[in-house]
Symmetry: C2
Subunit: 496 residues, 2 copies
């Protein structure tokens, strides 16, 4: 179907930033989808007008309930449809009459089931086209639009505002990844569970995100792509200005069999699709967790302009395994010139490594890690820095203090409190200083905490161009850095 692109964008904009919402099939019965969505939107703090629609109720969540859409006394931008499949065409008809611009059809039982379901799906598309309603789904787990304070998924994860958009053809993967995004502090600009994509396809979402001012990074989980040529052409164009990270489910025969039974759609020839993505410089993820870790890096750090890495580590073994992993991933760990060795050495005991990795040999000199990073940042011989164990050490200090409080009756509580505060403050100061250095030298600094922190992977730095990124393992840091370097290289080779 042909639709003018500007109209699509305007309508999606109304859907993702609605002034008013009708919830058709809202419920307050525990465990119903009508309850999942209603309670999430309300608890999530949606600021627009909200109209539950359900003929069996007068009031729900303290709000008046309307028997029919037509009864709503104001205009409605967006409708969520959560009624049984066979009633959906009628509901959409009423939405059309009401002038609703878009509908998120949560209901399943359409193209993913049988011939009757496929026929029903065709029917709702027909109504959408006739009545000018853009339909998301059907069979979607919902949408999240953080800048509209709209959290409308079955799962109640509420990631913060940010620059990563995520479009998922799988509901449960969407659940998982939005949940991880919230836990890791990765801010989203948008999440859409695209469901059966009866009317709006992932390519349409790409066109919308291309111009969305909040989105800087786009992540996609795809199982099947219709109109492959149009998708690739669009993705290639968008990827030049906003990095696209794709996980293709059904990369293998076993995966394709699973995908076919689950969506009803056949995924195309994957080797061709992935090859085309690679040629277009699009970042291929292999596993779901990479969508998150790559998003964190791409959205928070400057791109490395080459593959040469400086490593600063609080301990030797970490440096060794990180250097190994750099080699595995095509990154180099160049030796550093004498002048830099000397500058760093002024802050370290005599028997330090005198090379790259810079092994801080567990130093407690608070300046040493900062000096080491800054000296390497200044040097034109590296394109990125990996810092291991500085952020994260606070957890070890904390464990030590707990023991001392338990067993040393002579320890001064004031001194212990002072050490505790100093350790915490130092990490904050360090993270902030790293942000400053990234801005000054336009090179990424990727941290590895090595401990499981509660502060999340991304540490926002208000007023700064970049955020801190602190992964838990060296392998994640190295893998993300290698992908960012490859993206930069591909882009430099193929200027738009």
């Amino acid at each position: 179907m042909e639709r003018p692109k500007n109209h699509l964008i305007a309508c999606l904009n109304a859907i993702f930033h609605p002034r008013s919402i009708a919830l058709v099939g809202a419920s307050n019965t525990f465990g119903k989808w009508g309850q999942f969505i209603a309670s999430n939107i309300i608890a999530g703090g949606y600021k627009g007008r909200l109209f539950p629609v359900n003929p069996g109720h007068k009031e729900m969540f303290g709000l008046p309930v309307f028997a029919r859409i037509a009864d709503i006394p104001e205009s409605v931008d967006l409708a969520f449809v959560i009624t049984p499949a066979k009633t959906v065409p009628g509901v959409l008809d009423e939405c059309g009459d009401k002038g609703v611009k878009g509908a998120v059809v949560i209901t399943s039982g359409f193209g993913e089931t049988d011939q009757a379901g496929r026929d029903l799906e065709k029917e709702i598309v027909k109504i959408g086209l006739e009545k000018g309603i853009y339909i998301i789904g059907p069979n979607t787990m919902g949408i999240i639009s953080p800048y509209a304070d709209l959290f409308a998924t079955g799962s109640h994860s509420r990631p913060q505002k940010g620059s990563v958009a995520f479009i998922s053809q799988s509901g449960n993967l969407g659940n998982q990844l939005t949940h991880w995004a919230e836990q890791q502090g990765i801010g989203l600009s948008l999440f859409v569970g695209s469901g059966n994509e009866a009317m709006i396809t992932c390519t349409d979402y790409l066109e919308y995100l291309e111009q969305d001012p909040h989105t800087r990074i786009i992540t996609l989980y795809l199982e099947s792509v219709g109109q492959g040529a149009r998708f690739l052409e669009t993705a290639m164009r968008v990827n030049r200005i906003k990095p696209i990270i794709v996980l293709k489910g059904g990369r293998t025969e076993a995966g394709r069999t699973a995908a076919a039974s689950h969506t009803g759609a056949m995924s195309g020839d994957d080797a061709i699709f992935r090859g085309a993505c690679r040629q277009a410089g699009i970042v291929n993820a292999r596993v779901p967790s990479e969508l998150l870790t790559l998003s964190a890096g791409f959205s928070s750090l400057p791109l490395p302009k080459g593959n040469r890495v400086g490593i600063v580590t609080l301990g030797g073994g970490w440096g060794v395994v990180t250097a190994d992993q750099c080699s595995d991933r095509g990154l180099t760990v160049p030796s550093i010139p004498d002048a830099i060795v000397e500058a760093i050495g002024r802050h370290l005991p005599p028997f330090w490594s005198r090379g790259n990795p810079v092994d801080l040999v567990g130093t407690r000199d608070l300046d040493a890690p900062i000096v080491a990073v800054e000296e390497l940042m200044k040097w034109e011989g590296v394109d990125a820095i990996i810092v291991l164990g500085i952020v994260g050490r606070d957890e070890f200090v904390h464990m030590l203090l707990r023991s001392v409080r338990e067993v040393d009756p002579d320890a001064s509580p004031e001194l212990l409190k002072q050490i505790e505060d100093m350790s915490r403050t130092y990490e904050e100061t360090f993270i902030s200083k790293m942000g400053e250095l990234m801005e000054a030298y336009e090179k990424p600094i990727i941290g590895v905490s090595l401990t499981r922190t509660e502060s999340g992977t991304v540490r926002p730095l208000p007023g700064r161009r970049y955020s801190g990124v602190y992964y838990q393992t060296p392998e994640t840091a190295v893998s993300v850095l290698a992908r960012m370097a490859a993206y930069h290289r591909d882009l430099a080779e193929k200027p738009g």
Copy 2:
């Protein structure tokens, strides 16, 4: 040097299960190694006799302090030496005179530094041999012997008792991994930071662990191996009865350069070493985190007798990406016979996947996941099961309940409490049921929680042969399963 093996084992046994300990260089000054070790041993609940030695103090941590080792009024099994390097020979001499069996030399400044350090190291080995003291280290970050309630590392992580022994040639990697083991609930039988291995090498530790009744799995982080042939011969023998998992630091040129600057030792030809390990059926890890994830699986689950996997998933997308990953790792996802499809189908809505992966399509039927797993376990067509999203769902229920409590004034608090309890109890019941099935059918069931749980990866099941293992991501589950299948295959092909 030639030492009778039985004597080595007896001495190491005394070191790891000492009745009394001297802490030479104990301190209560915050930030000193003498304080790290002393406060950790005491707070960790060591039950034997503990004698701090330090001429400058009378009392410390509420214990009397002795000026010299000779002053200790009782016999001493083990000494920790935390005094400056140049004083260590004298301290060891005194230990010898006292009849101390073993010394853990924490102090650095030996072979890892310069010629003077190497000479000093030779001197302490000479004293050890003359006086019959076995020396761990020098330059070690300490040891943990959970069955002796002995936590004697600089880092205050205290993993619980278990069956995984971990020997590390890197102190900071040791810190990190014992910390992760504690967080993930992976029980240890022993941790040793082997330091410079002046007198006791990783091969010696292998011989000790071969007969240690608490140890079932052995993990090693190695940078350099002396007497390679003896190591491989020993490892090959031990690996037949206790799986050995090795991470070799310095796999690459960059890693070797880093290792050489940090330990002073040259790591040998890695390709040969790794090739030999592979031939011996030893499990090669590529990154530190794998040492943990593999330990969890090998120590808690029965070995899969083949590479055929049944997948049970709460959602389609998870099944797709897991099937993809199985293919990546050489595991197969066979189609299941009609009889099993029918048996499972009785608990599922009509449009379920009717195949492997078994997609439970978000069912809330509490029996469905258990029936699905049990039907697959009974079937001789699969060797292992991966279960996705059942354990971990509780976190989503919890988030939903939080919203409902906030926004629904009509919701019954009793009902909500009941749902909360039921959800939590169900997970426990499920985990316990999986343990029962593993025992009945001797096939591993690997869980994937998909959420970051606080309960840890390993869920102990008292009275059962196996424990529950619930990783956070499908890729971890698949990777561990593939390694376990390979280990079983290699062993079956090369019977001892």
